[in-house]
C-alpha cells in the first residue's frame, strides 16, 4: 500500500479533471446564456421572476405594514382599524385617522385635552397598546348621530401636536356625548422608506378593512411562490417516478398507469382539486398508517432484491420464458395490492368503512403480514420458478451474497439505510401509536398543495413516459443493458439524465400554472383562509366593491398575471436553450 504522500500525481490528475469539468460547465452555461438572451421576452421573463423572488424575500423590508394575517403565522394579530376604509391609491385619506372622543368622560375628569392615539394594537407580548399620533390637520368632526360639526371646536396644542384641545363651547354643550374626529396625522409607520420625502401614502390604496393593499400584495408573493415551487417540485418527483416506471417497463404496467392518468385527465383539474381540498378539510395533520410505513420499505426491498434473489438463489437471471403466469404478472398483483392499501390508508376511509372489518391494530398488522406473505408467495412459490431453479450450491451462493466484499453489498447498505430512515422518521415526527406523522401542521396551505399535486402528477407522468420511450431505444441504453446493469440503474443513471430537458421546461411552466390554479381555488373560497394575504383571496374579497374601487382587484390580479407571465416567459426561454435545434 502506498503512503498518503505518494499520490501526488493522482491528485494532480484529479485536480486537472475537476478544472476541466468546471471550465466545461462554465462554457455550457455561457453558451446557454448566449442562446437565452437572443430572445428579449425570455430576458424580460427572467427579470420578472427575479424581481418577484426578490420582493417575496424582502417583503418584510419593503412592506408598509404587516398584513393582518398571513398563512405563515396566523397568531400575529395586528391592528386593522388604523386607516380609513377603501382609500384609493395615492389618496390623502391614507394618513387620516378617525378617533372617538367621549365628552362624558372628559367632563367627569374635568379635562379639556385629549391625546391623539391610534386604535388598539396587539403587541408582541399579546398586550394591547396605543400609539400616540402627531396631528397635522383636522379634517372632519361629527357627533354620534352623524351630524357634521365645525372643526374649529377643537384645536391642536401648538406646543405638542399630539394633544387636542377641546373648546369651551364643545365642553359645555351637554347635548353632545361622543364626537368623532377625523384628522391627518404624521404617519411614520406608513411612510415608505424607499419613496422620496413627502410621499407618505398608501400607493395601492387600502381594502375594506383599512389594510394597506401594497403590503398585502407584497406578502401574497410569498404564499404564491411557496405554493408554486413546492407543488411543482413534488409533482415533478412523483410524475418522474411513475412516468419512468411506466415507460421503462412498458406492457401491462404501462397500460394500467396510463389508464389511471386518463382518469385524471378526464375530470377537470379544478373540480377534482376542489373536491380533494374539501375531502381533506377535517385533517389537522398528515399521518401515514404504520403498516404503510412498513410496507413501503419492504416494497422497495422487494424491488431491489428481486434481481439479487434470482442471481443468488436461482443461479442466474431468470427470463420471462421460464416463469409461470403468477410470476410473470407479479407487477399487476403488486399494483392491485398497492391500490387496496392506498385506499385503505387514506384518512377517513378506514378499514371498517371499506370492508366492514374490525379496526383493531392486530388485524391491520395481521392483514399487512398476510399480504406481504402473499407477495412473497407470488414471487417464490410459483411452481415453474422452483422447477427451473437449480438448488446446487445454494448455501455457497447465499454465503457469498452476505459477504461484505460482494459487489451487491450496496444493497445491504441500502437496506440498512431505508430502515434507519424509517426509524428516524418515526422517532422524530412526534408520531403516536400506530400512525406515522408525515406533516405535523397540515394547514390550508398544505391542503391546496396536496390537492394540486394530486391533480398534477399525471401530466408529468405522461411527459416523462414519452421521453423514456424515446431514450430507451438509444444505443447507450442497450449497451448498459447488455453489460447487465439492473433496471433501476439504467432508469436513473442512463435514461433520466437524458430526458431532463422537457422536464425542466415543464417544471418552469408548471410553477406559473400552479400559481394560477391556487389563486383560482382561493378565489372560489376553497383555498387559503379568508383574510389572508393571498392574491386569489384579495381578488375574491374585492368582488363586492370592484365597480367603485377597481384598485382592490387590479393590483392582486396584475400580480398573479405578472408572476405567471414571468415563469411562462422563463420556461419559453429555457425551451429555446434546451432545444437541440439551437445547439450550435
Amino acid at each position: 500500500m502506498r503512503g498518503w504522500d505518494e499520490g501526488e500525481e493522482d491528485r494532480k490528475e484529479s485536480r486537472r479533471r475537476l478544472n476541466e469539468a468546471l471550465s466545461q460547465s462554465r462554457k455550457d452555461i455561457s453558451r446557454s446564456w448566449r442562446i437565452y438572451r437572443r430572445s428579449l421576452l425570455a430576458v424580460v421573463g427572467l427579470l420578472m421572476v427575479f424581481s418577484v423572488v426578490t420582493i417575496s424575500i424582502l417583503a418584510d423590508k419593503i412592506a408598509v405594514e404587516h398584513p393582518y394575517r398571513n398563512l405563515q403565522d396566523t397568531e400575529n394579530l395586528w391592528s386593522i382599524d388604523y386607516e380609513p376604509r377603501r382609500a384609493h391609491p395615492f389618496s390623502e385619506e391614507c394618513d387620516w385617522h378617525e378617533q372617538s372622543i367621549s365628552l362624558t368622560t372628559q367632563r367627569r375628569y374635568g379635562e379639556m385635552t385629549v391625546v391623539a392615539e391610534s386604535d388598539d394594537k396587539v403587541g408582541d407580548d399579546n398586550r394591547y397598546y396605543r400609539d400616540t399620533l402627531s396631528v397635522i390637520e383636522l379634517i372632519h368632526l361629527e357627533d354620534n348621530k352623524g351630524y357634521e360639526l365645525d372643526t374649529s371646536l377643537i384645536s391642536i396644542d401648538p406646543s405638542n401636536s399630539s394633544i387636542l384641545v377641546l373648546s369651551q363651547e364643545l365642553y359645555d354643550n351637554m347635548s353632545l356625548t361622543t364626537i368623532w374626529l377625523t384628522y391627518e396625522f404624521d404617519n411614520e409607520d406608513m411612510h415608505i422608506w424607499w419613496m422620496p420625502e413627502g410621499y407618505q401614502r398608501c400607493i395601492f390604496g387600502t381594502n375594506d378593512q383599512g389594510q394597506d393593499m401594497f403590503s398585502k400584495v407584497l406578502y401574497g408573493s410569498r404564499v404564491s411562490l411557496k405554493i408554486g415551487i413546492t407543488v411543482a417540485m413534488l409533482t415533478v418527483t412523483i410524475g418522474t417516478i411513475v412516468g419512468s416506471v411506466s415507460g421503462y417497463f412498458g406492457g401491462r404496467v404501462d397500460e394500467v398507469i396510463m389508464r389511471i392518468c386518463d382518469v385524471f385527465f378526464a375530470i377537470p383539474g379544478l373540480i377534482l382539486a376542489m373536491a380533494f381540498v374539501t375531502a381533506m378539510s377535517a385533517m389537522t395533520s398528515l399521518t401515514m398508517p404504520m403498516w404503510l410505513g412498513i410496507l413501503i420499505p419492504i416494497l422497495v426491498l422487494y424491488a431491489a432484491f428481486r434481481s439479487y434473489l434470482t442471481s443468488t438463489v436461482a443461479g442466474g437471471q431468470l427470463s420471462d420464458r421460464v416463469m409461470g403466469s403468477l410470476m410473470r404478472n407479479r407487477n399487476i398483483f403488486l399494483g392491485l395490492f398497492l391500490f387496496i392499501f392506498f385506499i385503505g390508508g387514506l384518512p377517513g376511509a378506514s378499514w371498517p368503512d371499506l370492508f366492514g372489518i374490525s379496526d383493531s391494530r392486530g388485524w391491520r398488522i395481521g392483514a399487512a403480514t398476510g399480504i406481504i406473505l402473499l407477495l412473497g408467495a407470488i414471487g417464490l412459490a410459483d411452481m415453474r420458478f422452483i422447477e427451473n431453479t437449480s438448488f446446487d450450491g445454494v448455501e455457497e451462493r447465499v454465503r457469498k451474497s452476505l459477504d461484505w466484499t460482494n459487489p451487491w453489498r450496496y444493497l445491504t447498505l441500502r437496506t440498512v439505510a431505508v430502515f434507519a430512515a424509517a426509524v428516524v422518521l418515526y422517532r422524530f415526527s412526534g408520531s403516536t401509536g400506530d400512525e406515522i406523522v408525515v406533516i405535523k401542521d397540515f394547514d390550508r396551505l398544505w391542503k391546496i398543495q396536496a390537492a394540486l399535486i394530486f391533480t398534477g402528477w399525471p401530466g408529468y407522468a405522461r411527459l416523462i413516459r414519452g421521453q423514456v420511450l424515446y431514450v430507451k431505444e438509444m444505443t447507450f441504453v442497450e449497451a448498459a443493458r447488455s453489460v447487465g446493469a439492473p433496471s433501476g440503474r439504467i432508469m436513473f443513471r442512463h435514461i433520466l439524465p437524458n430526458a431532463w430537458a422537457p422536464l425542466l421546461v415543464a417544471f418552469t411552466l408548471d410553477i406559473g400554472g400552479t400559481i394560477l390554479s391556487a389563486s383560482g381555488l382561493s378565489f372560489i373560497g376553497l383555498g387559503a383562509a379568508p383574510g389572508t394575504a393571498e392574491w386569489g383571496i384579495l381578488v375574491s374579497e374585492s368582488r363586492r366593491y370592484f365597480v367603485f374601487d377597481p384598485h382592490l382587484m387590479l393590483f392582486p390580479g396584475l400580480a398573479i398575471a405578472a408572476t405567471t407571465l414571468g415563469f411562462n416567459l422563463l420556461g419559453d426561454g429555457i425551451r429555446d436553450v434546451v432545444d437541440p435545434k439551437n445547439r450550435r
Binding site: A266, I267, P268, I271, A275, A349, F355, G525, N568
Partner: protein
Amino acid sequence: MKLHEFVVRRLLLLIPVMIGVTILTFTISHLIPADAAAAQCGDKCGIVVGYTEDGDPISAYEANRERLGMNEPLIVQFWYYVNHLGEGDWGESSTYHRPVADVVKDAAPITLEMSFFALLIAYPLGITLGIISAVRQDRMFDHISRFFAIAFVSLPIFWFAMVLQLLFATQAPDSGVGGICDPIFGTDGGCFPIYGRHDPSLTYPEDGFASFYPAGGTGFHLIDSWFVTDGKLATLPTEFGSKWLLFKDTLMHLALPCACLGIASSGSLLRYMRASLLEVLHEDYVRTARAKGLSEFRVVIVHACRNALVPIVTILGFSIGGAIGGAVLTETIFAFNGMGRVAVKSIQYLDFPVIMGVTLITAAIFLLSNLIVDIMYAIIDPRVRLE
C-alpha cells in the same frame, strides 16, 4: 383496421376509464367529512320516527342513515350507487331538492353552449394570429403576438372576467369608472348585461317562477330563445316583445363570458398554430409550390395551412376539456347555472350525488369529444394508422 373497428375498440377502451372516474370521484366524495344524513334532517334529527323490533327508538337521523345506506361498508355503498346509476337513478340533490339527473340536464347545455361559443372565438382568433405570426417570423408582429399569447395563457381567468365586466358591463354611478362603450351604444350601464339572464333552472315547479322557455326546451339558451312559442312570449316582460329581441338579449348575455373564455384559450392555440406552420413551411412541397410561382398567399393558405391545421385538430379535444375547466370560474363570476357553478355549489354544500353526477358527465363529455377528435384525425390524416 377498418374505421368502425377502431371506433368500437376506442369505445371499449373508454369503459375502464369511466369506471376509474366513478371509483375516483366516489372515493373522494365519500372522504369528505360531512354527514349527508344529518344534512337532510337538519334540526329535526332527534325526532323519533319509529321503533325497532326490540322497542328501541329510531331517530330521523338513524332512519336517514339507513335509507341512504350509510351503515353499509363503502364497497357495498359503491355497488348500490353503480346499480342505481345503471337504472338511471342518479340520486337526489340535497341543495337543489331535485333529482341529480334533472340538475345535470339543466346545467350541461349551458356550459356546452358557452364552451362552444368560446371555442368559436378562440379558434379563428388563435389560428389567424398564429398564421400571421409564423409568416412574419421574428418580426415585430410576431414578437407582439407571441407576447400576448403567453400573456393570455398567464391571465387568471376570474380576474380577466372581472376586468371585462368593469370595462364593458358596468358603470359605477358618480365615479365614471367602467362601462367604456356606454356612450357609444347609449345603453344603460355598459354595453353588455351581466345579470338578469333568463334561466331554465328558474322553471322549478315548486318555486313558482314563470317559465320563460317552452316546456321541454333543449336547454341551449340561443336555440330556445329562437324557437320560443308565441304563448311563452306573451308571458315575458315587454322588452322581449319579439323573439328577435329575446334572441339578441341571450346573445348579449353570452358575449362577455364567451369572449373571456375564448381569449384566454386563444393564446395556446396561437402558439401551437405558429409552431406547426413554421414546421410545415420548411417542407419540400412548400418549396415546390413556391418554385411553381404560386403567390405567397396561396402557398401559405392552401398548401401549408392545410397540413399545419392537422395537429391543431388534436388539441380540440383538450381545448374542450380546458374550456369546461375554465367554465368553473367564468360561470361563478357571470352567475351562469352551468356545470361549473353547480360543481362549486355542490362541493361547498357537500352535496355528494351532484358532485358525482357533474364529474361523471364532464368526464364523459371530455372522453367522447376526444374520441371524436381522434376519429376526425384518422380521417383527415391518411398517415395515421388505425391501431
